[in-house]
Structure formats: C-alpha cells, structure tokens
C-alpha cells in the first residue's frame, strides 16, 4: 500500500470518528479538575508516605542513638541514618525530573530526547535505590534489634538466620529487576541514538 493510499484510508476513518462526537462541556471541565487532584494523589501521596516512614526511622534512630553501645552498632546506626536520608532524596529527585517535561514549550523531538534521558536517569536511580536497600537490610536489623528489644543481635544466631533467609530472596529479585533494567536502558539509548543520527 502506498503512503497516499494509507492517507486516504486514514481520511475515511477520520470522518467516521468526526461523526461520533460525544464529549460534553461538563465532562471536559470535569476531566481538567479531576485530573488535577489525581496528579497530586497519584504521585505525591505514595512518595510522601515513603518519606514519612524514612523520617520516622531517622527520628527513632537519632533519639535512641545512645542505646547503640558498641562501635559496630554505632557504625550500623550511622549507615542506617545515611541511607534513610538518601532513599527519599533519590525518590523525590526522580519525581522532580519526571515532572519537568515542558509539554507546551517542547517540540516532539525535544520531548523524546527528554523522555529517553529521563528514563535512563530514572532507571539509574532505581538501581541505586536497590543497592541502598540491600545495604539498609544489612544494617537496620541489628540497629533496630538493639533499639527496640535491647538485644545485640550480633551475639545471637537469629541475625544470621535473617540474613540467610533475606539475601537469597534479595538476590533473586535483583536478577529479575536488572534483567528488565538492561532492556529498558538499551531501548532508551537506541532512541537517543536514532534522534542523534538526524
């Protein structure tokens, strides 16, 4: 089929669509208003909830930090604090980038470039969050064990049991996540390359 023939066929379809006009004024206005609320709830609330959990963890660890009575528990405590600060920071950074597309100012090519770069950045942040999560799992167990129950889990076998159970699961999950990660990054990089070629 030639392009002109495709265009003619498209014209037939377009006139079918034109005959079906269905939108009403009230529905259009409803869409603009409901969407504004959705944008807040879809994106901000889960992130704020996550940040709040991290903040609660930070507050709890800081207030009771003196309860960590050995140097290795204090090191774990410091790592816990640093990660709990970094995780929401990375998440919020990715959302700011997600929201930064200039929809009314960009042309299609610029939007595609921004999309591809943003996707690569977003996936990198996801990867970092995953690594940080693995370290957090390692350090938070003895810290919270000590702060909540007063027990030094390094002196019991239960800590190692937790690690033995948690890390194979974590490893399996990471293999699955990073397989999708590589594919998505490759797609975004190919798109950028295609845009650069022209």
């Amino acid at each position: 089929m030639e392009l002109e023939e495709m265009r003619d066929l498209w014209l037939v379809m377009s006139s079918d669509i034109e005959r079906q006009k269905k939108l009403t004024g009230s529905l259009i206005l409803k869409m603009t208003r409901t969407n504004f609320r959705n944008r807040l709830s879809n994106i901000l609330i889960p992130e704020l909830a996550g940040a709040f959990v991290c903040l609660a963890g930070i507050g709890f660890t800081v207030i009771r930090f003196q309860g960590l009575d050995t140097w290795y528990l204090q090191v774990c405590g410091l790592f816990t604090l640093v990660i709990l600060i970094w995780l929401p920071f990375l998440s919020i950074k990715s959302i700011v980038r997600l929201q930064s597309v200039n929809i009314s100012g960009n042309n299609y090519k610029q939007s595609l470039e921004q999309f591809a770069r943003g996707k690569i950045q977003f996936l990198k942040i996801q990867k970092w969050s995953f690594y940080l999560g693995a370290i957090l799992l390692l350090v938070i167990l003895p810290v919270f064990g000590k702060l909540i129950s007063g027990r030094n889990l390094f002196q019991t076998t239960s800590l190692w049991m937790w690690y033995v159970v948690a890390y194979p699961i974590f490893y399996g999950l990471s293999r699955w996540v990073f397989r999708s990660y590589s594919k998505a990054v490759l797609e975004a990089e190919n798109l950028l390359k295609d845009l650069d070629d022209h």
């Binding site: 037939v12 939108l23 004024g25 994106i43 597309v101 009314s104 595609l112 999309f115 798109l191």
Partner: protein, 161 residues
C-alpha cells in the same frame, strides 16, 4: 466568550485528533481513558499559549504528542480517574468490512513503529504539510522526508491493498 467556554468548544472541535493520538499511544482501555484525560488537562493548562499558533490543530498536535510521550513513563502511576467508557469513540464504525479490516491493520502497524516514526506518520496521515510537520516535531524537512520513505518501506510490506 469566557475562557472555559472557548476551551470546551476547542476540545469538542478537535475531539477526533485527541482520540486518534490516544489510540496510537496506549495499549488498553484504561490507559486510553487516562491519557485522554491527561491531554485535556494539559491543553487546559496551556490554553493561553495556543494563541501564538496560526492553527489550533498545530497546538493540539504538539501538546497531545508531548503528553503522550510524558505519559509513557508514568503509566504505572495510575489512580482514581473519572470514567467515560460510553464516550470513547470507535475507529471503525465503517460498514464496509474490508475497509474496516484495513483500518485496523493500518492502526496496529503504526502502533508498532518506534515513537519517532509513529509521531511523524500520524502527522502525515492527518494531512499536515512538511512545514507543519517540522514545526510540531522539530525535525528538518529532509529528515522528515527520509523517515517517511523508510516508514513507507516498512509498512508497504505489512499492509497489502
């Protein structure tokens, strides 16, 4: 005329354009509704800027295509939205069965193109000239011509008349 009324009339007059773009950039009914709503919202947000364009449709294509790109990365962040199932249009109301099939094939083959080619092909089929295509997409005339020729090669093999 009040801004709201003017906006409503603009959207109503270009309902078909929005719908065709939504169909090309989504893969299920729920996504269709989500993107449709997002486009209407983005059009409303930048409604004042459309006066800088000589044609309203050029502005609508630009906003709708950019929103569709932006939507690709947010597709998993869905939430509550209004439902307008009954108001979703149909691409193929045509009674001619053969034509109906061809339209569906054309749609599904364009859907499979990469986002660059998909946008260019859509704008070409919509009857935009090269100047409009360049304004909306940001590609040069020669880039567009080269791409259209490649798209033609890809599609010709798959869609037989």
């Amino acid at each position: 005329m009040a801004a709201e009324e003017e906006f409503i009339n603009t959207v109503k007059a270009n309902e078909g354009i929005i719908y065709k773009i939504v169909r090309l950039y989504t893969f299920n009914r729920e996504d269709e509704q989500d993107l449709y709503q997002e486009i209407v919202y983005q059009l409303w947000k930048s409604f004042k800027s459309f006066k800088n364009y000589s044609k309203i449709s050029t502005w609508i294509y630009k906003i709708a295509l950019n929103t569709s790109i932006s939507h690709l990365r947010k597709e998993k962040r869905r939430g509550r939205k209004i439902t307008f199932e009954d108001l979703i249009l149909q691409t193929t109301e045509h009674e001619d069965r053969e034509k109906k099939e061809k339209i569906e094939t054309l749609y599904s083959e364009i859907k499979k193109l990469n986002p660059i080619d998909k946008g260019i092909m859509l704008l070409y089929l919509e009857g935009n000239n090269y100047e409009e295509l360049a304004t909306i997409t940001g590609f040069t005339y020669s880039n567009i011509a080269t791409r259209l020729s490649r798209i033609k090669q890809k599609l010709t093999l798959k869609i037989k008349i």
